[in-house]
Amino acid sequence: MFDYSMAEIGNIVVMQAFSGLSLFSVLLLMALGLAIIFGQMGVINMAHGEFMAIGAYTTVFLSRVAETYGIVNYYFLFAIVAAFIVAFIIGYIVEFALIRHLYKRPLDTLLATWGLSLVMQQIFRSTFGAKEVSAVLPEWLMGSFQPTPDIDIPINGVFVLVLAAVVTLGVFLFMFRSRWGLRVRATVQNRVMAGAVGINTKKVDRVTFALGCGIAGVAGAAFTTIASTGPTTGSLYIVDSFMVVVFGGAASVLGTIASAFGIAQAQSILQFFMTSSMGKVATLMVIVGILMMRPEGLFASKVRK
């Protein structure tokens, strides 16, 4: 790293930071979904990465359809919505068929959803092939702009960032400003009481789980703009997303944002100065180290135990 001038290092940091922002956006979208599900029912969904892959494959599929009709420039926003809906519906079914039977056994849920993720990966492989596929991106997502001659900022990165911001805001409004959100929070805080005042807690669970999956689907749509998708794509992000959730303190939206940002930036910048794998090792080691010191995460609120 000493072969660079200060100005060059500055430019590198800016560009790496920006590529970190793309990772941040994907991690944030993944983690939001996970955090909602985990915060709501203490369930860890090991197949969450596969729901992201569902969103990505939905987008890829739609891009091919769009290509045949020559409407590549317009399909993408529609694809985001479709990715959400497909992942939402599958999540809804999974909750009904599997998750709801296991609420009192969180460790078993972990294993069952792992099994689910294996099955889903194999379905992707059988349907779309083992090779990675990429979506045909609309022109307006490609290219980059240059605020200074040495700095190159890709447009797709900006788009993904905006998308993540919009979804985060949407989740925030849903959880804290809507009637549904109120029901969700009520159920989290006191399931029995919520049931007693007429909230259908089972339905709340199902919708919350499906919502978390739907957001993972959006993450998948966003993902197609920065990388190609393979059957195991989702599983590559799952541990990172867990770390984001745990590190941020499971129940806090702000914490999730901050920890997604920190983790993505650390990885992205470290990866430039070390090898890619060592950057990841260093980041994960720091997180695990901090979690051992502060198991409740960085932003957990003080709760009366």
């Binding site: 460790l107 972990l110 770390m243």
Partner: protein, 386 residues
């Protein structure tokens, strides 16, 4: 019967169960299988160490570690490092630019043996390392987490992350670890060629004996007051704490013990299979080992061995012929075991054995009934003595 002996054997039923298992792996399988297939069984049996360790930790202690591959791998690597150094004597590595160091170090432009490889020149130190390094590592993780009362899902996720870190680290540090290929071309143990058929038979038996030894040790632990406390903690941790026990110490101990047992399995894997690689450390192997224990029955030490054999035999069979089907099957297995057979094979056996006259005799004391009966008998005996 002597009290300790009876504890280790697990009463009449335990002794019979263990006898059947011993007959199967010590006599029937070696007689019935060709050396290649027996080698596969030997390999599976090294995974069974991990499954047994998970019965202790997860089934009885309620602590799910998704990082048992860490300890299996550490044990395996320790063994592999010793064997690799033996295989890398200056004469056989004379063509390297630095003779006398493992080949992969030479390929990665290392010119001297890294310091942490030095102890592995000695077999006693290696055996110590196999037993102590994983245990110490487990102690550090356990101490940090259990003292702060981290458990359940958090513990599972963090152990998983550690498994991921370790596997990336080993893959990334090719010059020191052999990278993604692992440590290969292991030939001799103190001059004894481990690749011959006769050596493989010997190692198979050593492995089987060690496994039975670990089961006996685990039996003892589970039948002691410690074992009862483990169950109690799994049920009502607060109550145990407010009965004057420092719960974290018990969890740390069982985690360390499970790490040590897994590490023995790892070392035996290296000896029998002749290499060690990071594919046995990461997330996937670690969680698959949980399913071995789950299929056998998370509470049953002997069931864990059968579960491991069965799942792996299935894996070998299917992935040879229908690799696609296997992933569906494996995934389905996770779901089915959790949803429909939470007690695995052992649970199914307990449920149906009573309906078969011959088996009923053997299983007169199913775990639940047994608890009640033996306690009463034991109290009576003790009362008579008094």
């Amino acid at each position: 019967m002597n009290e300790t002996l009876s504890k280790i054997l697990g009463g009449k039923q335990g002794a019979i169960g263990l006898g059947i298992l011993a007959a199967l792996i010590l006599v029937l399988l070696p007689l019935g299988l060709d050396p290649f297939r027996l080698g596969l069984v030997g390999k599976y049996l090294t995974y069974a160490f991990v499954a047994v360790s998970l019965v202790l930790l997860w089934g009885n202690g309620g602590i799910l570690s998704l990082g048992q591959g860490i300890f299996f791998g550490l044990g395996g690597y320790a063994m592999a490092m010793f064997l690799k150094l033996e295989a890398s004597d200056p004469v056989s590595t004379a063509i390297q630019s630095t003779p006398g160091i493992p080949d992969f170090m030479d390929w990665n432009q290392l010119t001297a043996l890294p310091w942490f490889w030095e102890p592995f020149k000695s077999l006693p130190l290696t055996i110590l390392a196999i037993l102590i390094v994983p245990t110490l590592f487990a102690f550090l993780i356990g101490y940090a987490m259990f003292k702060r009362r981290v458990g359940g899902v958090y513990f599972a996720i963090i152990t998983q992350a550690i498994a991921l870190i370790l596997s990336i680290l080993i893959i990334g540090q090719q010059g020191y670890t052999g990278g993604v290929n692992g440590i290969t071309d292991l030939k001799t143990l103190l001059g004894w060629d481990i690749r011959t058929d006769s050596a493989k038979y010997v190692l198979y038996y050593v492995n089987a004996a060690l496994l039975i030894g670990c089961i006996l040790l685990s039996r003892y632990v589970l039948s002691s007051k410690f074992g009862m406390l483990l169950l109690a903690m799994r049920d009502k941790e607060e109550r145990v704490r407010f009965s004057g026990y420092d719960v974290s110490n018990f969890k740390i101990f069982i985690f360390c013990l499970s790490a040590m047992i897994s590490a023995i399995g790892g070392a035996m894997f290296t000896l029998q299979v002749g290499f060690m690689s990071p594919t046995f450390i990461g997330i996937v192997p670690s969680i698959e080992m949980v399913i071995f224990a789950a299929v056998g029955g998370r509470m049953s030490l002997i069931g864990a061995v059968y579960g491991t054999l069965l799942v792996n035999a299935g894996k070998t069979m299917f992935s040879e012929t229908y690799p696609e089907l296997w992933l569906f099957l494996m995934g389905g297995l996770f779901i089915a075991v959790v949803m429909f057979f939470p007690n695995g094979l052992a649970g199914i056996y307990d449920k149906y054995a009573k309906k078969v006259p011959f088996l009923r005799k053997l299983s007169e004391e199913s775990p639940k009934a047994r608890k009640a009966e033996t306690v009463l008998v034991e109290t009576k005996e003790a009362g008579v003595k008094a």
